[in-house]
Symmetry: C2
Subunit: 567 residues, 2 copies
Amino acid sequence: MTQKVLIIGGVATGTKAAARIKRRNPDAEVTIIEQGAIASYGACGLPYFISDVVHDQKELFSTPIGIPRDENFFKNVKRVAVYTKTRAEKIDRNNKVVKTVHIETGEKKDFSYDKLILALGGIPVAPPLKGVNLRNIFQLRTIEDGLAIKQYLAKGKANQTVIVGSGLIGMEMAEALYDWGIETSLIEMLDWILPTVFDRDMGLILSRYLEGKGVHIFTSEKVIRFEGDENGAVTRVITDKRELAADMVFLAVGVKPNVDLAKKAGLALGETGALQVNDYLQTNDPDIYAGGDCVENTHRLSGKKIYAPLGSTANKHGRIIADHITGGTSFFPGVLGTAICKVIDFNAAKTGLTEREARAQGFEVETVICPGPDRPHYFPGWGNIIIKLIADRKKGKLLGAQIMGQGDVAKRIEIVVSALSLKAPVKEIATFDLAYAPPFSPAMDNIITAANVLENKLNGIARSLSPLEVREKLEQGGDFIFLDVRSPKEYEELRIDHPKVKLIPLGKLQEELKNLPKDKEVITFCQISLRGYEAQRMLEAHGFKKVKFMEGGVLAWPFEMVGKIWQ
Amino acid sequence: MTQKVLIIGGVATGTKAAARIKRRNPDAEVTIIEQGAIASYGACGLPYFISDVVHDQKELFSTPIGIPRDENFFKNVKRVAVYTKTRAEKIDRNNKVVKTVHIETGEKKDFSYDKLILALGGIPVAPPLKGVNLRNIFQLRTIEDGLAIKQYLAKGKANQTVIVGSGLIGMEMAEALYDWGIETSLIEMLDWILPTVFDRDMGLILSRYLEGKGVHIFTSEKVIRFEGDENGAVTRVITDKRELAADMVFLAVGVKPNVDLAKKAGLALGETGALQVNDYLQTNDPDIYAGGDCVENTHRLSGKKIYAPLGSTANKHGRIIADHITGGTSFFPGVLGTAICKVIDFNAAKTGLTEREARAQGFEVETVICPGPDRPHYFPGWGNIIIKLIADRKKGKLLGAQIMGQGDVAKRIEIVVSALSLKAPVKEIATFDLAYAPPFSPAMDNIITAANVLENKLNGIARSLSPLEVREKLEQGGDFIFLDVRSPKEYEELRIDHPKVKLIPLGKLQEELKNLPKDKEVITFCQISLRGYEAQRMLEAHGFKKVKFMEGGVLAWPFEMVGKIWQ
């Protein structure tokens, strides 16, 4: 039986499903309807096209050997019919027909289907602000958007840009504008950047890095309106706290699922507002599948529904849909909310639950912050990375990780992704026989060290405070000794800027013990708080009763500092 | 109670154990005896010291902030007594005393212990060949060895080097000598290089890369003797097949555990010849622990004992020993035989069982070879990696992986390490919510694609032949069409050099079908065999009965080629 499969949307899910359906059932008649001029392009590459890391837009929609993935390619190579510039207007579920219109010619055409796949994508949220339609206020969804931004940048008239919103796209745009040498301000409504990806402690570390690179960051701040000149071009961004001159604005306040067509056809939406699908990506109409940025996902740890649009998930969806349509039984187990971005040579990634999410979901949470070089310090090119792990104190199981720094963040986050997918206990991770050689990692990989320290905390051996907890104690004027045990040289170069800080190098601590009051609270730290931990244990051995080390040391301290922390 | 802990050997296991014992029990009296002049140096960094990637040997035994990890450092910072240049002569188990001698002064000293830790390390195997003691024949164990090699290289008199043995150290030395611009030959007794790490198919790929870089590789070849000049310096290496001029020879035929001292003390050796230890790293004397390169490990998948000396394992051992001595209960679950090396900007890694090992252990084995770019092809700096996965056909579980190429190999091997540690089914890996953004990976990560293809094979959907199977058919003069479905441009640049190869680009295959006999066997391939797979499915759909694709395509073909495959 020839199966007629119709796909609305030809970027990730759509083309992936099409190709696999044809591989599994070469007799299937597969048709893709795509609203844009180009199907199957690397939408995730758009920020890199804008930054000119990718010079030519053609690269985004060509195969690795440079063949454009156009209608001819799909017809000849994939045996899939593609209709571009064709907008689906209505899904007639009773007659199993989709009504379309050509966006240039206005020509109407009906496509019938046995199985329909909705790969409708997401839409950047447009904030309902005064002046939002002024010229040079951009959003990024299509390749045409990318082209418009790049053309404007190439004119050389943009000198001051404001990015509204600090999600992943906002970060990638911050990098692109940095590459263009344009002064950039980032405005975030919530209290720290990437607030849905990182906890505050980690978000602040990223903020400090970006500020070091000259990006202005304004958090807890709302845009009120945009103002323009007589030609209708944006000139100013007015927030609830200040006015910023701007000859370019980039709106990155989020993405929402593109569900209007589906909603009108009576398909069910989930609690997140995205399309509801089962584990096989079927909507409430079993002949209609949906995948990619228009559907919601299940979080593998919490079991809750989340909206987490990502190209990797979209491709997986396409594969599962193709399997199910062609008689397979594979299903989609959900996502971990994994995210990664590179922003001005700083890598930042997250998977699983944040501390905030874990607490909100009622877990008894233990966390650790553990920085360190990603390779032996003698190996040139190493970079520091800071790992935050979040665990379920009761079960000793890992719940999530946030990792950032100039070193190899991606490798460590994937280890955690794998461990979370398989529900590993924290102590299990520390035993992984990870691949060691000096060009790749320290003998004890950072993630093993972090898991070990977390395990020490779970067992009550390591007693520590997070940087945020210490900061709170400082703000409350707490009476304690804030003990930096690094060398004078390190202290000279970079230090926490607070009068309470006392410097006693670890090697001198033993002889200085007599000058420290044993009954006073002591909080020790060093660069990454390995020496800080040793100092704690030494003080305890000498009868000090209230000693803790501050996790992460100077490297993870996201507040006032003297000296430059990231080069 | 003050516990007296004595440690013989101060490199990885020894110093790790010492530091952790002091952290867990600050009252413990911890002493390290080290035969060399320096304790706690980065032995794994020696090849990089020789290549001058690491300029100064001091970097190998300093802390990240440049403090030498000498006796004073251990005394003041770690509160551990270190005796260097001190050789342990005898372990008197009855009296719990170790007798030592200072290697310079000859002074004898007895050290008593409550708990003894043996961190005796490994010794490079010295092959019993005529002329092996000639000058300029080197081995690498100590920092002094590294210094001697580097000093000789710096003289500029080494022009032709022969490396005997192609294990990990041999590879790292090949890179070091390449960096020095010295002509290098590699002699391996077995049939391919790194024979204990890689299967033949993958070993040949690495060979081809190295040959492309000018390294001469002679496999299935045995060194018979070395010849020297009147000054006792090596001049020639005589094998069973040829004579090679050499003004420097590096012996890298393997490492054996340093067990003489322990053996004399009546401690039990295991089947591998290394010290036998339980899960807590105790020898058959419960007061004597052993760890690092002198002990054998249990393979986590096979349960068999293996000798796999590695710095990462040595550090883990040190930690477990420290825990057990101070009342902890953590245990060592064994290793996966993970290994990684960088050799002239090519990365090669392995974990779990090789195909050969898996078959030898009676598994019904399925494998796949799956190459691809490690990032979207539009993102500059991407490199190809080739993944081989090995699975247990009956249980659908992954048994091992070998990954190599110019791209990010380390990240993918760690995903497999994590999956193997947690005994994941192949299909589970394909669902991992890995971290995706263009600077880091393709939307479908290489390891997901590889797992998907393997799953297709396990389910009988993908029918393929490995490069070795195809090569065998070619050698036997098999009657089949060997169909390259790439573009003419790709074919021009790089192709399999065999008269049987027929080129029909995938986009033209449909119209060319009529010229192909339907009853003849067809083996399709492309650059990485994604198009090869599509061609197979297309041919089958048109009534071809015997079609398979060749896994890995041109990129994984390790035999005769026209054109240069790795740049």
